[in-house]
């Protein structure tokens, strides 16, 4: 028993030694450890700034920051979607970023009041089974999927953050009523629902469903593993929320006493090195002009985009969730 207790004490010491670094930058990351930790390590190596990261879902972290208010231990919030960033911005908890940072990316990928800046782009697409569906039969916007011919054929992930952000964008571009009708139409079409994007792509590859509404990069990761998969990406041909490019991005907490290092962190994420990493390792769109995306992807400028301000996304997020619930999808 004594040996057991001393073993446990040893473990406590060892793990607290791993966690305690007082001078470090604290980053709340909604982006997953497996994707961004290598990049953060490079940042620490190059700048000598130690970084302690808390990984969790973007929405959970946004909510945690709201609870923490002015006393957040975090210096930087690195999130997967503009809705989570907007939530923190709305609460007035970010500090304004210098224009030299926000101007690095096209204006539509950063907050209009410089509260946060996009670091990489993720397009909403249709994933379809290339062996069974002719892309010319696919509708020009997501509205076509409520037609009876698509009944039971289109997978959606109504509880997923990126789907909800897309619904919020649709409210901004098409209005509340049209979005409600569309969601009801998808429900009436008994569209199969999944927990996340990745099982939808897997289901398309497995021949379970023919089409699905997802983010663009999941398929590319599947294809990198096994190039024979049947799935293909389709970008809507008319400007619509269904083909919106939504940035993952970062902002600096107003309460941070470490603003300079925090800016260095964001600057690094917008460096050529980091942008190449996003293009090559995570199959996202780099936002720094001049850095090419994966060769399987159309150029970011060629994707038809609705005219909405992503800064407003968070203001209709609750409404989006309510509409999805009202349609009976959650």
């Amino acid at each position: 028993m004594k040996r057991l207790i001393s073993l446990i004490l040893l473990l406590v010491l060892a793990s607290s030694a791993c966690a305690a670094r007082d001078d470090s930058l604290v980053v709340y990351s909604g982006r997953s450890e497996d994707l961004v930790q290598p990049l953060i390590d490079r940042f620490s190596d190059e700048t000598g700034i130690a970084v302690t990261v808390r990984f969790a879902g973007s929405a959970d972290l946004a909510a945690t920051i709201l609870e923490e208010g002015d006393h957040s231990p975090a210096d930087v919030f690195f999130a997967q979607d503009p809705a989570s960033l907007g939530t923190v911005a709305l609460a007035g908890l970010f500090s304004e970023l210098p224009a030299t940072l926000t101007d690095l990316v096209p204006a539509r990928f950063s907050d209009s009041e410089r509260q946060w800046v996009g670091t990489s782009g993720r397009a909403r697409v249709v994933v379809y089974d290339g062996s069974r569906v002719d892309p010319s039969d696919l509708p020009s916007t997501e509205d076509g999927f409520t037609e009876p011919e698509w009944s039971g054929r289109t997978g959606i992930a109504p509880t997923n953050g990126s789907f909800l952000a897309f619904v919020a964008a649709k409210i901004l571009s098409d209005g509340e009523d049209a979005t409600r009708e569309w969601l009801k139409g998808m429900a009436a079409n008994s569209s199969p629902t999944y927990a996340k994007n990745s099982p939808i792509v897997a289901a398309v590859n497995a021949g379970e469903i023919e089409t699905g509404l997802v983010n663009h990069y999941y398929l590319l990761r599947f294809l990198a593993e096994s190039p024979d998969e049947a799935g293909r990406n389709f970008f809507f041909t008319s400007p619509t929320a269904g083909s919106l490019v939504m940035p993952a991005g970062a902002g600096i907490l107003r309460s941070s006493g470490n603003q300079e290092s925090a800016q260095a962190f964001i600057e690094f994420m917008l460096s050529t090195e980091a942008q190449m990493f996003f293009a090559e390792e995570t199959y996202e769109y780099p936002l720094l002009p001049g850095i090419p995306a994966d060769s399987l992807l159309p150029p970011i400028g060629s994707i038809p985009t609705p005219d909405i301000d992503l800064s407003d996304l968070a203001t209709v997020l609750d409404l989006a969730t309510d509409l999805v619930a009202e349609a009976g999808l959650i």
């Binding site: 446990i8 473990l11 406590v12 060892a14 793990s15 607290s16 791993c18 966690a19 305690a20 670094r21 604290v26 997953s32 450890e33 497996d34 994707l35 302690t52 990261v53 808390r54 990984f55 969790a56 879902g57 929405a59 959970d60 909510a63 945690t64 709201l66 609870e67 923490e68 208010g69 006393h71 231990p73 939530t87 709305l90 109504p158 509880t159 997923n160 953050g161 909800l164 199969p192 629902t193 999944y194 927990a195 996340k196 990745s198 099982p199 497995a206 021949g207 379970e208 999941y218 990761r221 599947f222 968070a314 997020l317 609750d318 989006a320 969730t321 999805v324 619930a325 009976g328 959650i330």
Partner: protein, 545 residues
């Protein structure tokens, strides 16, 4: 009822003082204050955090009732309730059958089966769900084995199968511990008086096991209600799925919190049902002085029993492990190697062992109060342990975040709070088996100690705790194993930079890096096997000492 009373009399014939536990013997005494203080030390802060979250939700919004009183809410409650009943029933059948076969018959390779049969407990339920999904369906592994296309394993059937497989070990472990403790002499007396084995099982064994099976079944039911991972993977529209969706999709937390309260009410119905059916059939007997005589299985029965054990273990443990190993092998072949994170292993071991120790310590006063000083207040104490266990972890985590950030900032995001929350969350897993142990301990032993001059406190430490140590340790092992699998509270409450194996699995699987997820999952299973080995094997060695 009359039949159960008659069994208690059988017990008293064997020389145990003929008094019913709980009521007449203990009610005149009132519990010492320090017993209450220690019982509340762990539970009170967490409960206060949860209650204040609930109150804030009601204060913040006028839409509470609108969220609450939709037909959809009722339908969801009904679906979750149905799933809970189906899972609990199946887990009882499998768990009790397995426990009886492995403690009371001469089935071969008993020791090995004892460990293996408990193994699904250590496999995270989302891993079981993932492997069932990938093995089912017209093109899956099962279809290839039988040679014709099979339906996809999803929805109610999939969720039922997954949760049954990952929870029956609760019933199995707690019931086998109780079976080992019961005095075989009563069974033998009944058999010598001409009762058939079936009748002995029905009238002697089952009533004696009632507290243990009840404790196990309650854990199964409440686990099922609070589970999120497997119902969402199986695409079964249960309560937790909607609660998580509301949390992730909204700034306004009110609807999710209100739905958590409804879930707690459903749990209340389950808890009430278990307590109603408890009756007063507690039975204590002397510590068994010799092993029970084993029921000899015929060759056919031997085969049938082995088939039952084997098929359960195949689905619940072998298949997931094979699939995980397959992913790792693929990754090794691709030259990516085996992903091993030392901080994650250290973090998992630290969190889980501290949680187990704290939970065991906290359970002692609660169980003693509940059994020896039974009253309306102690009943609520026991119920609050169960209510906390039934809540989705995300709700508890959010409650504790908002509470500590306001009122206990120095310990915000500290190991201290994380361990407290782990222990409170899983406390029911210790109080269940420990309560079942204590019910089998004759209160006269404690009284004898006190009459010989030991105080209540020293009696508790020197007499009661050693007598229920097996139940406590079994519970501690359960807490250890479930803490290893815990995710939402770890993500939100742990010190920044702290990581665990469960976190690694979640992060990697979320990004489709299955080989990485599989490496961590295999390490997690390997780590959990130690306490399960202890649960299944050690008690047998201890008994003869």
């Amino acid at each position: 009822m009359s039949r159960r009373d008659s069994i208690i009399n059988v017990g008293s014939v064997r020389g145990v003082p003929a008094s019913t536990p709980g009521t007449s013997r203990t009610s005149p005494k009132s519990a010492p204050w320090w017993l209450w203080a220690t019982a509340l030390a762990l539970l009170a802060p967490v409960s206060i955090a949860i209650v204040s979250l609930f109150l804030r939700a009601f204060g913040a919004s006028s839409t509470v009732l609108e969220t609450l009183l939709t037909t959809r809410t009722l339908r969801l409650a009904g679906r979750s309730f149905l799933l809970t009943i189906l899972v609990t029933a199946a887990a009882i059948v499998i768990g009790v059958a397995g426990a009886w076969v492995l403690t009371r018959t001469d089935i071969r390779f008993k020791t090995a089966w004892g460990v293996v049969f408990a193994l699904p407990l250590v496999i995270p339920s989302y891993v079981i769900a993932m492997t069932l999904i990938s093995s089912g369906g017209p093109r899956g592994l099962f279809a290839n084995l039988v040679g014709f296309p099979l339906p996809h394993v999803t929805g109610l059937v999939g969720a039922w199968l997954t949760l049954t497989l990952s929870t029956y070990p609760y019933v199995f472990l707690i019931t086998s511990a109780a079976l080992r403790r019961t005095d075989p002499a009563i069974e033998e007396a009944a058999r010598s008086l001409g009762s058939s084995p079936g009748r002995v099982f029905r009238t002697i064994v089952i009533p004696q096991l009632r507290p243990a099976v009840g404790a196990g079944a309650l854990l199964v039911a409440l686990y099922t209600l609070s589970d999120f991972g497997s119902v969402s993977l199986m695409r079964f529209d249960a309560f937790t799925r909607v609660i998580y969706a509301q949390y992730s999709g909204r700034l306004d937390r009110t609807p999710a919190i209100v739905l958590s309260i409804v879930l707690m009410l459903v749990a209340g119905v389950v808890i009430w049902g278990e307590q109603r059916s408890r009756g007063r059939g507690a039975l204590f007997s002397r510590k068994p002085t010799r092993p029970p005589s084993m029921y000899r299985l015929s060759r056919g029965q031997q085969v049938a029993a082995t088939a039952l054990l084997a098929s359960t273990v195949a689905l619940g443990a072998a298949l997931p492990i094979i699939v995980l190993v397959g992913w790792v092998v693929e990754s090794l072949k691709a030259g990516d190697g085996f992903f091993l994170s030392v901080p994650a292993i250290l973090g998992s071991l630290t969190g889980a062992s501290l949680a187990a120790i704290v939970a065991m310590a906290a359970a002692i006063p609660i169980v003693v109060l509940g059994v020896r000083y039974q009253s309306r207040r102690t009943a609520w104490l026991e119920r609050s342990v169960l209510f906390v266990f039934s809540l989705p972890h995300i709700t508890i985590a959010i409650a504790v975040v908002s509470f500590t950030v306001r009122y206990a900032r120095p310990v915000y995001q500290s190991m201290f709070v994380l361990v407290i929350v782990y222990a409170a969350m899983f406390l029911a897993q210790v109080t269940g088996p420990a309560r079942a142990s204590l019910l089998q301990v004759n209160p006269a032993l404690g009284e004898a100690s006190r009459s010989l001059g030991r105080g209540t406190f020293r009696t508790m430490l020197a007499v009661t705790v050693p007598l229920i140590s097996r139940g406590l340790l079994a519970g501690g092992a359960l807490v250890f194993v479930t803490t290893l699998k815990e995710l939402p509270a770890t993500l939100l409450l742990a010190p920044s930079g702290f990581t665990t194996l469960a976190v690694r699995i979640w992060a990697a699987a979320d990004e489709l890096l299955y080989a990485r997820a599989a490496s961590s999952a295999l390490v997690l299973i390997a780590v959990s096997v130690i306490p399960v080995y202890y649960l299944a094997i050690k008690p047998k060695d201890v008994r003869n000492s």
